[in-house]
Assembly symmetry: C2
Homo-oligomer: 186 residues x 2
């Protein structure tokens, strides 16, 4: 591993640890950098903002590709659901643990909550784009994406708040199943 990647990882793990101890707003970038043995400029060379150290998901673009890759004969809702489930199936227990820490962190800070919303919105946009590629109207795409992401977000927060959560993949798959049963079948 290159030196710069090591530094990056060190910054990230130090930051998340400190955030868990004293809250996102109770820790300065200066502190994180110092505790990782670097200057604050090095922090900003690895992470564009203080928030981005918590959220650096490469998840969104993948979701888009997976949704776009679904069979065109399927309805928009089903293409989206299958795309998301396909993405989730790639997560292992370590990913789960990591995601859980981050989501728990985020629910405790207004700054991070805002950032989650932004991520969510980007994911929604990506899905909307993917759906439109296969001929779904803009409005229908946004409705489907909004509904499914609403369910996913709700389930994600639920899951991260539980004491002994099962697998995220399984939990969200069930949530999306419920959603189908609820009657949305665009």
């Amino acid at each position: 591993m290159k030196r710069s990647e090591q530094t990056r990882d060190r910054l990230q793990s130090v930051a998340i640890q400190l955030f868990e101890e004293r809250g996102f707003d109770g820790v300065t970038v200066e502190e994180i950098a110092h505790q990782a043995g670097v200057s604050h400029m090095t922090f900003y060379r690895h992470f564009p903002t203080k928030e981005s150290v918590v959220f650096d998901d490469p998840f969104d673009p993948m979701i888009g590709e997976l949704v776009a890759a679904q069979d065109k004969s399927l309805i928009a809702f089903e293409r989206t659901r299958r795309g998301i489930v396909a993405g989730l199936s790639m997560l292992d227990a370590d990913d789960d643990h990591d995601i859980r820490r981050r989501v728990r962190l985020a629910t405790g800070s207004s700054t991070l909550r805002a950032r989650i919303l932004e991520n969510n919105h980007r994911t929604e946009d990506v899905i909307v784009q993917a759906l439109q590629l296969n001929g779904t109207s803009a409005m229908e795409a946004r409705v489907v994406a909004g509904a499914i992401l609403g369910a996913v977000t709700s389930a994600l927060i639920d899951w991260s708040g539980r004491e002994s959560p099962g697998y995220l993949h399984q939990y969200l798959t069930e949530a999306l199943g419920v959603l189908g049963a609820v009657g949305i079948d665009v």
Copy 2:
């Protein structure tokens, strides 16, 4: 009108004007305050943040009440749709013009876009609460709210981008009608 309200209005109109001219990030709070003939502290006594001068909607709580007030025998989707339409019907042409300026401003600034998402999320939470009051499950509530707000947001941005938009109320009502026709009938 009290002196403090005058100051507040002056700050707000100066701010929005400057934002339209040079973009949200191209204007400092110092400038806004100076141009309104006050100090930056006075600005912060009237608005908690720079963004809040663009968004100070008292709209969300009202939506919640309207949704909660709908007939319990209706399905969740219909309660929400009627609640929102009821809220929209209170808007006159001046409100429309104002909303249009703000939305156009917001779509041009990443900072303000983030703020819109936050507002949206608060509205969603309010609707979810209102729906749950009448016995809808948390998951179903979030799905319905997510879907409807997705449609509303999409339509709102569409509308604000048009050269000669009609009435917002009419536009959004149609959008929500389409949504119903699309097949969501939880």
